[in-house]
Symmetry: C2
Subunit: 141 residues, 2 copies
DNA sequence: CTTTGTGCAAACGATTTGCAGGATG
DNA sequence: CATCCTGCAAATCGTTTGCACAAAG
C-alpha cells in the first residue's frame, strides 16, 4: 500500500507534475478501478466519506494527467467521457445492454491486415471496439 | 436529382417517418456529404442561403433518423458527436492532425480473429478506428 | 380531423473559466 | 518565494424541453 503510494508519487514527479493530495487521489482512484469512470463518478467516489476534492479540481487533474499521458479518455458512448489509467494500447468491449466497458488486451485479438488501406494515409495505430452482451446481461431472469 | 429526392421520400416513408421539408433537408444533407458533420455544421449548412430549419428541429430530425436507423452517430473525438448517413458496417480513419474522418469500407480490412476473446461475452459486432495522418497533412509546407 | 413536427425561448447538464487564497518544490 | 494548484461561483457550450401553432397523412 505504502509502496504503491510511493510508486504513484514517483510516476507523477517523473512527468513533471506537482504532487498534490487531490491529484494523487484522482490518479490513485483511476489506477484502482477498471470500470472506466466518468469525471463525476470519480468525484463522487473521492468525496464519499470525506470531501477531498472539488469538481473543478477533478477536471483539471484529469487534464493534467492526460497531458502527461498517464490517463486517457475513452469514448464509446454517446456524449459520455470516460477515463482510463491504462495507457498501453488495448481494445475495448462494450456491453450493449448495461453499458459496461472492459479492456481487451492487445494480444487477445490477432493482428489486423492494413495493407489494403489507402496509401494516402500514414497510419499511426488502430483500435478495435467490440460490441455485445456481457456475462451478466445474458440471462434475462 | 428529382429521382434522388423521390428516393429519399420513399426511404423516409418506408420507415414510418412523416416527410417534412426540414427532415428531408437534414437527411439529404447528410446523404450528400462524407465529412461526418456535427449537428451544428448541418444546421449552418442548411441555413446558409435561406433559413430552412431551426436548431431544435435539426436535433429532433437527427434523433428521428437515428431511431429509424437511417443515420448513426460517430464518436471519435473528445466530446464531439458526428453524424453519418452510412449505416452499413464500416470502419473509420481519423487524421490526428486535422481531425478529418473518412470511412473505411468493411472489406478493406481483413477479418479479425475474435476466437481468443472471453467466452463470457456474446459478441454482436466490432469496428476498427485507424489513426494517422491524412494525405494533406503529410506535407508540412 | 388526428397525430406529429416546428420554432422559439427557457432549461439543462457537463465542462471550463476567473480569480483570490493556499500549497508545492 | 516564485510558481502552480485549489475551490468557489459564474460563465459557457451543446443539447433538450415545454408549449402554442402549423403541417402531414
Amino acid at each position: 500500500m505504502q509502496q504503491q503510494a510511493d510508486q504513484i508519487i514517483q510516476t507523477l514527479k517523473s512527468k513533471g507534475l506537482r504532487v498534490t493530495p487531490q491529484r494523487f487521489a484522482v490518479y490513485a482512484n483511476l489506477l484502482g478501478r477498471y470500470d472506466h469512470p466518468t469525471a463525476e463518478e470519480i468525484l463522487k467516489d473521492l468525496n464519499q466519506a470525506v470531501p477531498t476534492s472539488s469538481q473543478a479540481t477533478v477536471y483539471s487533474s484529469l487534464q493534467a494527467l492526460r497531458q502527461a499521458n498517464l490517463v486517457r479518455e475513452v469514448l464509446l458512448e454517446e456524449g459520455v467521457r470516460r477515463y482510463d489509467a491504462n495507457v498501453e494500447p488495448h481494445h475495448h468491449f462494450r456491453c450493449q445492454s448495461c453499458g459496461a466497458i472492459a479492456d481487451i488486451p492487445w494480444q487477445a485479438l490477432g493482428p489486423i491486415d492494413l495493407s489494403r488501406l489507402s496509401s494516402a494515409w500514414d497510419v499511426a495505430g488502430y483500435e478495435v471496439t467490440v460490441q455485445g452482451r456481457c456475462d451478466r446481461c445474458q440471462r434475462p431472469a
